[in-house]
Each structure stands twice: as structure tokens, then as C-alpha cells.
Amino acid sequence: MTLTWTDWQAIAVPLVLAIGAVAVLLIDAFWRSATVQLRHTVVTLLTGAVILFGLVFVWAQRDDFKPAFCRPVVEGPAECSLVFEPLTAGLWGVLLIGGLGVVGLSAYRLLSADIPVGEYHFLLLSALVGATTLAGARDLATVVIGLEVVSLPSFALVALRRDRRGSEAALKAFLVSVLSTAVMLFGISYLYGVTGSLHLVTIANRLTGLDPDMKRVAFAAGLFVVVGFAFKIAAVPFHAWLPDTYVGAPVEVTAFLAVVSKSAGVAGLLVLVVTGIAPDGSDLRLVIAILAAVTMTVGNLAALRQREAVRLLAWSSIGQVGFLLAPLAVGDAQAVVGYLAAYVIVTLGAFGAVAVVQRHRPAGLLSDYRGMVRSEPGLAVALIFFLVVLAGLPPGLAGLFTKFAAFQAVIDGHLGWLAIVMAVNVMIGLAVYLRWVAELFLLPADDPFSVDIETPAVVMVSLFTAAAVVVSVLPSTLFALAT
């Protein structure tokens, strides 16, 4: 009889990522004899290999149920702090794909940037460790730890360039995030006080039996927890740091924030919602639904007039989070994961395309893209495709069907008003992306963007495009991630 037991396979992925992170740091720190070029290649390859291992592992084990850090309970099922189950597999898959994409993007851009390669990849892998832990967490302590492990490296990444803009961006993100952590912890402390446990399953069980006064306290506590996550994923009104931070950070770090960090937040919130903090019919779900409606509306509206590509993507990512929150509010994990997957792929692609353009035109204005459909047809078509997927119109069927699934979840959850808000937002969102697409098609353009794009960028953008096409042709793959 052991006090706790652990299926080591369940924590294999975070563990390997952590080891990889340390290894990367050590290689970079102690292998000074090699050229920067070589070190960069090795570090990138190692990081990629570690993440790839994680992906393969997740794929191989996708249907299994593997608990870790479990402890028997007098009555009922055992309490486990970290669980690997199909939902976890789906979330990890999304997170790791996002991480891999960011690594790929970095391979292109870091060559000439003044960012220390080793630290960069170390921080990236560390954040992934946190993200995977968060997605598998089943008790609040693990959730907090996981969240912190995602967040802290992110700020470091933002500030890694050590310039004026980076520091300001990092400060904003940091202050908001730390405040959110404090708020969330405050909420957690009350949840603990009300239920006497930190394990999600136990909390969920005990919440049902509370007397009304305590229920009100529990609701407030839950609200604080949700708000903490809302900071993290930049739901309105906790979003204001995001555009500034996105603009201030290097493009690939922005991609990281938009993809991995945001997905981790969504994953954490999803875990909380589906495992019982916000059971069906609770007011917390209503709160999330309100957040969803406000977030998507504000995000899309604000994106409507943006002139800078990254800022537009920043605001549009806020809008997308609104759409993610909608199925989350009804606890439809499948729709959330599917949406997240499509979002991750095309966001990576869009940032990849933006990275290419920004490298040669640092201003990053939308007008830099004018006439690209003729001067750079390949890149333009890829970018158009990503934008169309984000808008959710054919030919971007991946976006269409993930939005469809979100609608379906909301309709099935009897949230008619939210569905109407979503419909309005589909329209506003389309207006946002069409402005950009129109720029791309605008001819004749004086001084169109036309360069000899570097091979790594071509490869990455092509890969993202291919992935987006595949999930558009076979949308069922998106929903197979979490069944």
C-alpha cells in the first residue's frame, strides 16, 4: 500500500520537455566552441526533436487513461493531481503543435536577431512544460503551478531582446498576469475554504452539497478563478495588455503568446469547467458566456480599424478567444479543442507570413501588403487562406467547421442569445479580415512587396498552409483530437 502512486507515462511528456529544456540551456551555455550558426541549428533541432517526441507519444497513447500523483480516498474514486486522458491528449497535441510551429518560425527569424538562442529555446520548452502540466492538471495547486510555469517564461521571452519596447511589453504583460494570479489564488483560497479540498473532482462533489450561503461564496471564489484565467487568455475586459505586448515583442514571441500561451490558458479553463468547478447550469458558465459575447464583440470591433498587421492579429485573436469561450461556456470540449487546433495552425501561418513581410518592412502596416497577390503570389495566397480560415468562410473550411461546431455547442446548450451575438461577430470578423485581403488584391500597387524569401520561411509557411489545407479538406481530423 503506497501513499500515492503515479503512472510515469502520464507525466512523460512534461518530464521529457523539462529535461530537454535543461539540456538546451546547458548546450548553449557550455558549448561555446561551436559557431553560433551550428549551436543554433543543434539547439533548434533538439528542441524540435523533444517536442516531436511529445507529439508522437501523445499520438500513440491518445486513447489511454493514465493518472499520476493519485491518492486513495475513503469513499469514491481516487484523487489524482495529473491525468492523461483523451481530452488531455487533444490539448497536448494542440499545445505541442503550437510549440513546434513557434520553433519553426524562430528558426527563420532568429538567424539575424539579437536574441540568445539557448535561453530562448529553454524558455520555450519551459513554458511548454507548464502548458502541458496545466492541461493535465486535476487539482488547483497543480493548476497554479502550471500556470505560473507557462507565464513566467513568456514574460522573459517578451523581454528577451532587452530593448525599450520589449521591456515595456514585458512589464505590461507581467503586471497584469501577476495581478491575475493573485486574484485567482484569492479565489482558490476561498474555494479551499468552502470545500476543504484542492482536487477538482472532490470540489465538484462537495459544491453540490453546500448550503446556499456557502454556494454564494463558492460562486464568488469560482468567479475569481475564472477571472484569473480571463486575464491569461485576454478576455475582455482583461485584454488591454495584449495589443501592446504583441506589438512590443518580437514576431515569433508574439506568435508564441498567441498560440501556446493562449492555448494553455484556454486548456486550463477548459479543464476547470469540464471537471466541475462550473457544472452545467451554474452561474459561472453564464459568466463565461457573457465574457465570450463581450470578448468577441470588442475584439472584432477594435480590429476593424487597425492599420498594423500585428495589432490587427492581436485584436482578432481576442475576437477568436471570444469564439473559443462560447463552446467553453457550455462545456463542449470537442468543439473547443477543434477550434483551438484550427486557430493554432492558421495563427502560426499568419504570423509566419507577417514575419516574412516585417523582416523586410519593419513598419508592419497593412498597406505594405498592397498588391502582393501579383508580386508575391505564393505568400499572398497562403496568407489569404489563413485569413479566410480565421474568418470562417470557404475555402477556409477548417475555420468554417470549427465555428460551426461552436455554434452547434451553443445552440445545444440553449444559449440562443449568445448564438445571435456570434452570428453578428462572424459578420464583423469577416469585415476585419476582408480589409486585409482587399489590400492584398489591390492593384496596381506602387512599390509592391517583392523579395526573395528565405528557404526556411518558405518551408514553414508551406507547411502551415499544407496543414491548414488538410484540416480544411478533412475537418473531421480537427474533431478527432478530443473525443
Binding site: L140, A141, V144, I145, E148, L152, F155, A156, A159, R162, D163, R164, R165, G166, S167, E168, A169, A170, L171, K172, F174, L175, V178, L179, T181, A182, V183, L185, F186, I188, S189, Y190, Y192, G193, G196, S197, L198, P243, D244, T245, V247, G248, R305, Q306, R307, E308, R311, L365
Partner: protein
């Protein structure tokens, strides 16, 4: 000692922290206010732990974790503030406004 006293104290601490975060310009002071908020959490956790007679001491364990997290946060926060100071020559959180969208770019 009734449970309500430490809880009340925690709430006061937390609110003080929130006030400090919102009203102080100096980034260091803001960080200190954040510490205050985290300590309010710790107080809560310990108080509830004692109230529940939790055999596993879950609350206290989490409190320890929170202290660790706070330390890490402060470490990173100070590093960022340092960077800010290097770039801007001051540590006023509300004066760092380089990244705001400028009107002329919107015309």
C-alpha cells in the same frame, strides 16, 4: 480565535494590495503591493487549513507553493523593472507608453 478575524485581515490586505497596484506609479511599489495580495492569500489558506483540521495540510502546502511562486515572480519582475530602468531611465509603470497605437498611423 474565530475564523472570521484572519479572513477579515486577509480581505483588508488584499484590498490594500489592489489599491497599491492601481494607484502607485513606481513599479517597485506595485510589486510590493502584489506581494501583499499574495500574502493575503497565504493567510486565507492557513486559516482555512486550521479551520478544516486538514490532515494533509493542503492549505499550508499550497501556501508554501505560493510563497515560492511569489519569490519567482518578484525575481522576474525585478529583472523586468531593471530592464525598464535601463531603457527608459525611470521605473514609472504608467509612463511606459511607447507601444500605444499612434494616431498618425491611423490616418
Amino acid at each position: 480565535m474565530p475564523l472570521v478575524l484572519p479572513l477579515l485581515l486577509a480581505v483588508v490586505l488584499f484590498c490594500l494590495g489592489v489599491y497599491g497596484v492601481l494607484s502607485r506609479r513606481n513599479a517597485i511599489t506595485i510589486l510590493m503591493s502584489l506581494e501583499l495580495m499574495l500574502n493575503a492569500v497565504n493567510l486565507n489558506l492557513v486559516a482555512f487549513d486550521a479551520w478544516h483540521l486538514d490532515g494533509l495540510a493542503t492549505g499550508q502546502t499550497l501556501a508554501v507553493f505560493v510563497i515560492t511562486v511569489a519569490a519567482a515572480e518578484i525575481g522576474l519582475g525585478l529583472a523586468i523593472v531593471l530592464l525598464l530602468f535601463r531603457g527608459h531611465g525611470h521605473v514609472d509603470a504608467d509612463a511606459a507608453r511607447d507601444l500605444v497605437e499612434h494616431e498618425e498611423s491611423a490616418t
